[in-house]
Every structure is written in structure tokens, then in C-alpha cells.
Subunit: 337 residues, 2 copies
């Protein structure tokens, strides 16, 4: 029900993925009177789609605590309950991020040894064959060194499980590559990660190098990661706007623009935020994927694909296993909050 | 002497600015044997250029404490000494950022009421008539609310003194626009700024909105600001590379590229980091401008222009005055470290 567009985008995107993945089964959770008219316009395999009515919805500006307290029959809450009771294997939502995270954490709980779930997503790099996973993108502020180590473990698992990278290179986001740079948490994290046997820790990385294609995983606090993500989106949209303005100036520019468009599009579209839509709430006992609120039909479909990959590659159990190894190893055990 | 290129870039850039600003007088500080051959190739008004020999140079990878201790006759240290003794009105350097900041702080000291100097620079926005000043870009990590308030005062002074904006709109960088979002320092800063009479505080801003042209000043901790700056530069270079690749694919693409270039360049060059080169070390009893180490001749010239603007508009004294007002007002006085 959530996001800027709601069912007119989420329902057709789901039906698209039903057609693409023959083993996929979908449960649409939300208000029947909003979902049925959308479904009526589409043709799909009715044996693999179930409608599950939920009478409430969480508004985009609602506070997480309010949503938790008073929206017990919201589409979001019901969908996460279905994951909890193992009726569903994953939940995908374009709704209120804070409410979704609070609900997911409350209902599903974190994995043993994980204090805080994080938000992880994919960024493109200059190397067309290599994307980078970055976390945390905004679930946590003031992350301690122990939290950042847990993020490193989870990011590393996701990169090896989903992107099939052996021994993923994990970097720590910092404001310089020298040892003396950075804040206390980052310096402590670097020390802990250097001692770890299970993580392939490769050192500090600066903001510009996220896009250089060296790193498989970049770890940072959620405040910093969210700023990096949003700033990047801002620059992409800014440049897209400048290019459009340039090709609109007069008739000759328009003609050149018409010729340039098919040349530029396949290249420049690699940085379109929509292509990387679908952030994983990682560290939970269950799979929850958050789509951008403004996602288009193909972008929301991509978020559903992230959920499918998470299920097929058994991400939560792999993290559980990796954290057990970590606790057994020389690293200090993660603190509980 | 510093930067990736040293005198072959800094000397001609200085000479360019001598020609452009008839009242400018330059003191070139560094090793005579490196500076003289560069000068020999150029024609300039010899009455307005002085060479000041300094026998050492700070290496780009030297630690700030080492530079402070053992490089007392470095070009950097001597240039800042000249500002201290009022022989020079400003110092411009492309050298080691950490060493330059440590030296500037040690020699010049901060202004009364300012605990920590900050790095402030200009970002372009979608509005071609409006740039935004952002600080801190990496001088400080773990900034307290009091430090962030001081940054807000200094940014506001710079925007009104140099960009001639009346009552500049000051925003606080955060990971959401709602009151509940953010870390403790940001929430406390918002409270302090809302109470301030001298600062036109406009609320929270997210990373993407830095480029929307609403804000005149964006305030953040140096870790966060440095990540935002570097990430933005990374995205700009990434997209520039994609565009170049697209126009190189085959002969037809090359031809279209040749036509598109003059259309795109005047627009897209607005986001080139070189155009905004020259960050001010703000909060010191003197003007110090840091150029990007890799700056080209026109980019380094731009950094010199920032210094000229700082001198002409009397920035340090205006900050001194504004901080005195702040202390007199209802705000809690800034703590000293």
C-alpha cells in the first residue's frame, strides 16, 4: 500500500515478476478495494497469486512508534507477520522506512549476535562488471566499532551469497586513507577487522572511491551512509537535469540531443538510482526489502528480485552461521544493547 | 611547493591572477631554485611579485605533527608566518591538508569564541544563480552541538560577506527532515539554532537537497561533510567517464559526440569540481585557502580568487564580530576545548 504511488505501481510490478519467475508465488497484502481494481486490469497465473486483506495502512509521515502501536492491521505489519509465521519467505515494501524497520525489528527480531539490523544496497562502479554493496544506509546512527564489525560480517555474507564473490573485499569508509585519519569508532573498527580471519578487510576507502570498483563491500555508520547515498542521488539527478537543459536550448541542440540520446542512454543509465532499487534490511530473522518510495514499476520489480535472491541464497541463515564463527574466533563478542 | 604539480601550476596561476587583479600583490614562498625557472618563462608586473625563499617543503604524506615539529622553514609554515606578522593578508596552498590546518591553527590561532576552525567550500546547485556553502568538509570529526553552531555562524558570515546574501538560509545536514531523525548532536544543534536570533536557521536538509538551490549554507560534522564532498566528486567523475565511453564506442558515436560536446560542455561543466576549487579554513585569525592537490592552473587561480574575496570582505573580523554578538545573545557561550 505504501510509497508515493501505492498499488498502481506495486501490483503490476508484482505481476511482472510472476511472469518472469515461474516458481515465484506472491501474497499481495493490503486493502482489497485498492488491490482488486489493479488486478482486474492484468492477466496473470491465478494459482500463484493470493490476496491477503489488511484494513489499515501506515502513512508515509507516521512515526515508527505510532505505526507500531496503532496500526496492527496495516499492510506492512501483516506482511511482516506472514514472514514471522513462515507463510511468506520475504516481505517487500515501498512504505515508510522508519515504520518498516521498527516493525520488522519488533516482529522478526535480530539474528543472535546482531545488535542492530542495517540497511544495505547496491551502488554501481566504473567497472561495468562490478557493483559494490554499502551499509549501513540509515538504520543506525552513532554506530559503535562492534556494530560496524557486525555490518562488515553481514555485508560480506551478502556479497558472497548473492553476488557470488569469493572472499569479498571489505573497506571501511573514512575521510582519508592514512591510519591517523577518522573518528574513534572507525579507528577501532579498523583494528578489529584487521584481526578478523573471516573478513577480507582491505582498509579505508574515501567517498569518491566507492565508485572505483575496488571494493565489494563498504561499511559505515548509518548517518554517513545515508548522506553518501542521498548526495550521490542528488548529483545524478542534477547532472541529468543539466544534460536535458543543454539539449533543449534551441532547435539545433534538440536535434543533436535526439541523436545523442540513444548513444548516451545505455551508458548513463548505469547510474540511475532506480536500477539499484531494493535495499535489504539485513540482520533480521527474516528477509525484508525496502523499495524507494518513488519507485517506478520496473524499479519496484527490481526490489522484488532482491527478495527472491535473498530467499534463494538463504541469506539470514548464512549470516547466523557467520556470526557464530565470529563469536568463536578471537574477536570480542558483540555487545547486546 | 605543494600539490600534485607544485610550482609548474601554482606559479603560472599566480601570474594569471596578477594580470587579472591590478591591486593584487603576490609573495611566492618556496625554494628559489624551483620557483625561478617557472617565473623566467612568464611575463608579469615585477613590482607586484616578490619571491620569498623557504628551504623546506612539507611532503603530501607527512603527518601534521611531524610537519609542525621538523619543518619550521617549509614553504607552508613560512607563508602562514607571513600572514601572522601581517606581511601577507592571506595564504593559498595546494599542499598537505592536515599539515596546513595544524600549522595554520598553531601559528594563527582560532578567533575568540571559536573552538575549532572548519573547512568551507562552495557547491553548485540546480539554480544557476545560486551556489551553496557547506562546512565542515573534514577539519573536525565528532563535532559537538556547540561546534556545529559555531560552524553555522561562520558559514552564515561567509555567505553574507562574500556571496552578498542578506540573511543567508542555514540548513543542518541530516538523514531525514522529520524532527525525530538524526543523531544527538544534530538534534541539539537544531534546538540551539532555532533559538538563535542572528542565524536564519531553515531546518534539516538531506544529502540530495544540497543541490536543490534552497540552502545558502549547509552545516555538518567534518566526517559527514568530507564524505558528501568526496562522494559527489566521485559521482561527477564517474558520469563524465560514462559519457566519454558512450561517445567513443564507434565512428558514428564519435561524430555525434563531436556535435554534442559544444552543447553539453557549458552546462555540464557547472558541476566540475575544479570550478569550485579553493576551500577556506574558517575560524582562524587570518585567511588560509586550501586548493585541491590536483588543481589545474585555472583551478588554482580560482583558489587565489577566494583569498582575494576573503581579504576584500574582511571575513575574519566579521566572524569575530558575529561571535561576540552570539555570546551576548541568549545562546550558551561556546565551550573552549
Amino acid at each position: 500500500m505504501g510509497g508515493d504511488h501505492g498499488p498502481p505501481v506495486t501490483v503490476p510490478a508484482g505481476v511482472d515478476m510472476l511472469a518472469k519467475y515461474p516458481h515465484l508465488r506472491l501474497i499481495l497484502v493490503g486493502e482489497e478495494e485498492a488491490l482488486l481494481p489493479e488486478l482486474a486490469q492484468l492477466s496473470y497465473d491465478k494459482t500463484r497469486l493470493v490476496l491477503h486483506h489488511a484494513s489499515q495502512r501506515v502513512e508515509m509521515d507516521e512515526s515508527p512508534s505510532q505505526a507500531l502501536r496503532s496500526k496492527k492491521d496495516s499492510s506492512m505489519r501483516v506482511a511482516i507477520n506472514l514472514v514471522k509465521e513462515e507463510t511468506a519467505q520475504a516481505c517487500v515494501s515501498a512504505g515508510n522506512t522508519g515504520a518498516l524497520m521498527a516493525t520488522a525489528r519488533f516482529v522478526l527480531k535480530t539474528l543472535p549476535g546482531i545488535d542492530r539490523p542495517a540497511i544495505i544496497s547496491t551502488f554501481p562502479t566504473i567497472n561495468p562488471k562490478r557493483n559494490v554493496r554499502m551499509l549501513d544506509l540509515g538504520a543506525n546512527v552513532d554506530s559503535s566499532a562492534e556494530h560496524l564489525v557486525q555490518f562488515a560480517v553481514m555485508g560480506s555474507v551478502l556479497a558472497s551469497a548473492i553476488d557470488h564473490i569469493e572472499n569479498p573485499k571489505v573497506y571501511l569508509l573514512n575521510i582519508g586513507e592514512e591510519d591517523i585519519k577518522g573518528n574513534e569508532q572507525v579507528k577501532q573498527t579498523a583494528q578489529l577487522l584487521s584481526q578478523s580471519k573471516s573478513i577480507n578487510y582491505a582498509g579505508y576507502i574515501e567517498g569518491d572511491a566507492i565508485y572505483h570498483g575496488e571494493a565489494d563491500v563498504v561499511v559505515c555508520d548509518g548517518f554517513v551512509g545515508n548522506v553518501a547515498l542521498k548526495t550521490s542521488e542528488g548529483v545524478v539527478l542534477f547532472i541529468a537535469k543539466l544534460i536535458k537543459q543543454a539539449f533543449k536550448r534551441n532547435l539545433i541542440c534538440k536535434l543533436i540531443g535526439l541523436m545523442a540520446k540513444p548513444v548516451l542512454t545505455p551508458f548513463v543509465s548505469r547510474v540511475e538510482p532506480a536500477r539499484y532499487n531494493g535495499a535489504t534490511f539485513i540482520g533480521l530473522q527474516g528477509i525484508v526489502i525496502k523499495s524507494h518510495g518513488g519507485a517506478s514499476r520496473p524499479a519496484f520489480a527490481h526490489a522484488i528480485e532482491e527478495a527472491i535472491l535473498g530467499v534463494e541464497n538463504n541469506v539470514p541463515n548464512r549470516i547466523r552461521h557467520e556470526v557464530e564463527q565470529l563469536v568463536k574466533s578471537s574477536l570480542p563478542p558483540p555487545h547486546s544493547e
